[in-house]
Symmetry: D2
Subunit: 344 residues, 4 copies
Amino acid sequence: MRVAVVGASGYTGLELVRILLRHPIFELVAVTSEQRAGQPVGDAFPALRGQLDLSFERADPTTLAPKVDLAFTALPHVASAPMVRALRAAGVPVADLSADFRLRSLDTYRTWYGEHPAPELLETAVYGIPELHREALRAAGLVAVAGCYPTSALLPLVPFLRAGLLEPGSVVIDAKSGVSGAGRKLEAGYLFSELDENCMAYKVGEHRHAPEIEQEASAAAGTEVCVTFVPHLIPVTRGIATSVFARPRRPLATADARAVLAEAYAQERFVRVLPAGATPNLASVRGTNFCDVAAFSDERTQTLVLLSTLDNLVKGASGQAVQCANLMRGLPEELGLLEVAMLP
Amino acid sequence: MRVAVVGASGYTGLELVRILLRHPIFELVAVTSEQRAGQPVGDAFPALRGQLDLSFERADPTTLAPKVDLAFTALPHVASAPMVRALRAAGVPVADLSADFRLRSLDTYRTWYGEHPAPELLETAVYGIPELHREALRAAGLVAVAGCYPTSALLPLVPFLRAGLLEPGSVVIDAKSGVSGAGRKLEAGYLFSELDENCMAYKVGEHRHAPEIEQEASAAAGTEVCVTFVPHLIPVTRGIATSVFARPRRPLATADARAVLAEAYAQERFVRVLPAGATPNLASVRGTNFCDVAAFSDERTQTLVLLSTLDNLVKGASGQAVQCANLMRGLPEELGLLEVAMLP
Amino acid sequence: MRVAVVGASGYTGLELVRILLRHPIFELVAVTSEQRAGQPVGDAFPALRGQLDLSFERADPTTLAPKVDLAFTALPHVASAPMVRALRAAGVPVADLSADFRLRSLDTYRTWYGEHPAPELLETAVYGIPELHREALRAAGLVAVAGCYPTSALLPLVPFLRAGLLEPGSVVIDAKSGVSGAGRKLEAGYLFSELDENCMAYKVGEHRHAPEIEQEASAAAGTEVCVTFVPHLIPVTRGIATSVFARPRRPLATADARAVLAEAYAQERFVRVLPAGATPNLASVRGTNFCDVAAFSDERTQTLVLLSTLDNLVKGASGQAVQCANLMRGLPEELGLLEVAMLP
Amino acid sequence: MRVAVVGASGYTGLELVRILLRHPIFELVAVTSEQRAGQPVGDAFPALRGQLDLSFERADPTTLAPKVDLAFTALPHVASAPMVRALRAAGVPVADLSADFRLRSLDTYRTWYGEHPAPELLETAVYGIPELHREALRAAGLVAVAGCYPTSALLPLVPFLRAGLLEPGSVVIDAKSGVSGAGRKLEAGYLFSELDENCMAYKVGEHRHAPEIEQEASAAAGTEVCVTFVPHLIPVTRGIATSVFARPRRPLATADARAVLAEAYAQERFVRVLPAGATPNLASVRGTNFCDVAAFSDERTQTLVLLSTLDNLVKGASGQAVQCANLMRGLPEELGLLEVAMLP
C-alpha cells in the first residue's frame, strides 16, 4: 500500500519516514519538501543514508494523488488545509498532522489560527486518537491527528470524564515538554545554550492546545469542561510528561482511580496503565507509540492526580498518525508501531 | 567573624564553602567530613584548588565550638540533631540545613523521619525563610533552614494565604527539581544514563517536604491548609521550577494577583516579581540566591497559577542559610549573596 | 531459532533484548539475571511492559543449553569465561560480549584482567568485527564480540594499516564516549549531577581497550603497532566519536584517503563512508548498528585524520553481537539490525 | 575606574557584564547593543534584574570616549575594527575580544576574514594571554584578547615549545567545545534538539583559530610550527577540553613533562597544573578564569599528551579580557576573577 509524506523534512515528517520504513504494509513512495526538492533524502539527513532511496520532491497534489493510497500531511497549520483539500478532492485518504482540522468550531479556529482555509472539510474530519474514536477512524477519509499535549492530557482524563466522576470546572493540566515539540524553529529561545539546564512555563493560559483539549474533554463529559493548561519546556528532546489535577465529584480512593484507567484501557496495546505506586517516565516511552498512565488520589485534599508520559513525535504525532492510518486502511492498528524503547 | 561548615563535602556543604569564600565578613575556618578527614579540600575537590587552604577535619563539637562564632550544619537528618545539640550547648549559633528542626510537631517528625534525637531544641528553632520570618531570625540561636521545595512553594503562596484570598483546601503544587536535590546519593536512578533525556514524577503525595509546606502554609493562613504535592525530577543539575494552583475565594484578575506578589516583595532583594506576562526560568536564578515569581489568573476556571524558580542549592539551601546567618549575626542580609547568574 | 541472553539486566543485555525482539529469526526464549531472578522483565523495566512475556531466571548452563540454539553472554569479564565454558561444553554457540576472549595473549590478559578463567578456549575464539573477520565468524563456535572503543578505532584505521600506508608508531586515538559505556556502575563520578555539563579525559594511556586495539591493528599491519589512546567521557548516554591521527608513509591527499575507506567498505551495509567534507555525528548512528566514517588529510603537517561515530551499545556491543550471531548461524548479516536512527 | 562594554548583549558581552559587576575597581558605566538600544538591561535579560541599573545604548565612540577609562569591545570580527579605531583615536585603551587584531600577518587575516578594516593598528596590538605576554600587556593600549581554542591549546603547549622539546611538525590538537562558543547564532545546527546527545567534529583543518595557534606556537618555538587542529562540538554550554599530542625531540617521562608545566606556571594564579595522574574536567573550571592543565607521556609511542580545560566564555574570552585590562590599568591581575566554580 503506497503512501506519501507531504512535508517530510520537519521533525514530524522525518519521524513518519522512520516509522514507515519499518512498516510491513505501507510502502513509502514519495516525500516532499519545498526547500529540499531534488535532494536525495540521505544527502539531506545523514542518519537516513543507506536506509531509503528517495529524493525530496515538491508537493504537487496532481502528481501525488495517482501514485498513493494514503497521504500523511505534516505541514504547518494554515498551509496544510489547501493541500489536504486538493488531495481529498483527488480521492486520497489523508492523515493530517497539522492543527487545521482538529477544532470543530470555526470561531475557535479563527481565534487561535485565523481564517480557516478549507472550512467545508471540517465536518468530515475525525479527531485522531484511536483509543477514543476508533470506530469513526475506520471510516474516515480525513483524520485530524491529535496534538501532542492534548493526547497526553486526554488519555488519562477522558475515562474519568466519561464516567462523570469529575467536577467539570476543576481540571488543571501541568505539562512538561521536550524541545522537539517546537520543531526546527529558528528562535534564540530554542538554542542549546539557552535551554540546557533550563526549564520554564510558557504561554500560561494561552496555548493553542487548550481549546483542543477542552473540545474533546467536553465531548467526553457531555458538558462544557474548561481547563487551566500550563505547558513547560524541559531540556529533553523528546517526550511529554503531564500531570492532570481534578476534583472528583465524590471521594475516590487511589485504587479506585487506578481501576478506572485499568478498565478503560484493558484492551489497548498502546496505553499502559502502570502498576499501583509506579509513576510514568519519559525514557520508557521515548521512540515508541506508548502512552504510560497512572492515577493517584489525595483523599485529604480530594484531588485526583493523573500522570502520563508519551513521546511527542510518536504517540503525540507521527506514531499516532500511522496508528490512525492503519485503521483507515483496515489494517491491524499496531502495524509498524511496536518498537521497543532504548534502555538507556 | 569565624564560621565552620559541618558536613562540608556534600552538595549543600560545598555550596556553603563556595558562598562563604566570597563573603566579606564570615571567615571560613573549619570544614568537616568524616570520610575525607585529613584531606586538603583542594585535593578532594579539584574545583577548589587554589581557592582555600583548609583540610577536612572530623566533626568534633568540643574543638569546633571555641573557634567559631557560628556553625552551618549540613548533615543528613537524624544525624544532624545531636551535632546541633552539642554546638548549641557550647553556645554556638547554628544554621542547620537538615530537616531536623523544621517541623514543629514531634508527631509529624516521627511519621516522616522517626524518633526525634533532640526534641528539647524544637521550641527554640526558627524556620529559616527570611522573607517570611525575618524578625524571629534576628534573635535566633538555632535556625532550621527551610527545604528547597517548601521555599519554592511558600514564597509565591504565602502572600495569598496571609491575605485570606484562597480556599485552604484547594492548593496543588507541581514541582520540577534538578537532580542535585538528591545529593550525591548512589542509586541507579540518579545515574547520568538513567536521567538524561528523562523526567518523572515521584513520591506522589508522600514526599517529606509536604508536611513542611503544610505547616508554614497553615501558619500563614491562620487555618489548616492541606496541599497536594507532586514533585518531579528533570534532567538539570540545579534548580526547581514550581507551579502552584489554587482556587481564589473570590474572582481575581491576573493584574490583581500580580499586585499581591509585587506588594509583598517590594522591599525584598532576593524575591523578584517578574513583569506582567513573563514566566520565571531556571537559568536566570542558577547559582544565585534569587527566587523569581509570577502570578496568573485563569478567570474562566477560577484558578490562580503561581510560578517560581530558584536554585535548590542556593536559595533552596546554602544561600538561604547564609542569608539567615547574616540576620543572626546582625549583618546586612545580602552579604556574600549577590552573585550574578551565568548567561548562558 | 531460539536464543538466550545471559546477563540480560545490564545495559548491553537490555540492548540485546531490544534488538532480538524485532529479529525475524532469532526467538528470545530466556533471559538471565542473578539479582532479578523470578521477576517478569516488564516489572523490572517498565519500558519493556507489553513487549515480551519472559521472567528473568538464574543463569544455569544445564537448563539453558537444551533450549537454545545460540547464547549471548553479557556478563562482566572474568565472570563470563566460566559460563562460556559451560555453554560451549554443552555444544551451544556463544557470542560473548565480555573482554574474556578478545585478547589472544594470556600474558596481556593477565596484565589487564588477572588470571584467565578459561584459557583453553582462547584458541577457538574469533574476534567479532564482521567487516574485518567475516569468514572466520561464519565458522565460529565462540565469538569474542569486539569492544566499543576498538570497533570505533579499528573500522576507520584497519584499511590504511592493511594497505601499509601508515607509520606504525604514529597512531594516536582520541575518543569521546557516552556514559552508558560504564554500564550501571554505582560510582559518584557517573551521577547525573557530576557529569552533566562536564567532560574529561580518563585513564590516559592505561585503558583496557588499548591492548585490544593494538592486537588487531598489529594483525592488520603485519607488524607491531602501538597506539596512544586517550578516552574521554562526554555528557551523552550513547555514542562514541573517535578521532584517529596517524602519519602516512608517503603524502596522501584527502581524496585518496577517502578513497581508501570507500573502497574498503563499498560492499558493507553497516559502515557508511561519508561524502567528501562531511563529518560523522552521534545523532545519525544512535540506536543503530551503523558506524559512520570519514577521512581527512592535513598535507601541511602530513597527518591523516580519521573520524568515526557509532552507538557504543549497538555497533559497539549488542548490535555487533547480533551481526556476528547472524553470521554464525548462516543468516543474512543485517537481520534485525536495520533500525533507523531517531531524528532528532 | 569607568569601563564600557561595546556589544554587551552577546554571550561574551554578557559575561563581561557579569564579571565587571563584582569587580572592585572597574565600574561599568555603559553597555551598548544596536538591537536593544534603549532597553534596560534587566528587561532584556531577566537574570540581570536587580543587579544593575543601566540601559543598552547605541555604540557611539564620540559619546563613549569621554566617559570611560577603558573599553571592552565584543563585536563580531570585521565589525570590531572600525569601532576600535575610533576609540583608540580618542585615546581610550581597548581590550578587543574579536579576532580582528590577533593575527599579525595581513595576508593571513585576508585569507580567513577578508580585507582588514584597520591594518594600521595591527602593529600596536598585543596578543592577550597574560601568562605568555604579561609585560607587553602592561604597556598596551590595544589588546587582542586571545581566542578560546588558542588559549586552551597554547597554555599547555607553549612551555614545551619554548624549551625546544618538541618536533615542530608533530603537533595535533583535538578540542571539544561547548556550544556557547558559537554565540547566539541562529542556525539549525545549534538548536537544542539537534545538539543534545550529539557530538561531532567540524571544520577539520579549516577552523579560523588554527592560524592563530600557529602564529603563537611559532613565536614560542622560534621556528615555524604547523598544527593539525580538529575542533568538536559537545553537548555542554560552556567549556573547552583540549588534548594536544606531540612528538618530543628526545624521550620524555611523564614526571618530566609534568615538571615542565609545573615550573612554567608555578607563579600563575589562573593556570593550575594538576597533581600527577589527575585529568582536568570542565566542571572544575566552569564559570571561572582557571585553566587546568596536565601532561602525560606515552613512552612506548613517544607521544606527549597535554590536556587542558577552561571556560570558553571566561578564560577563553571575557575573564581573560578583564585579566588583560587589569594589567593595562596597573591593577592586580586577579581582581574580579577569583570566582569559585559551582559544585556541582
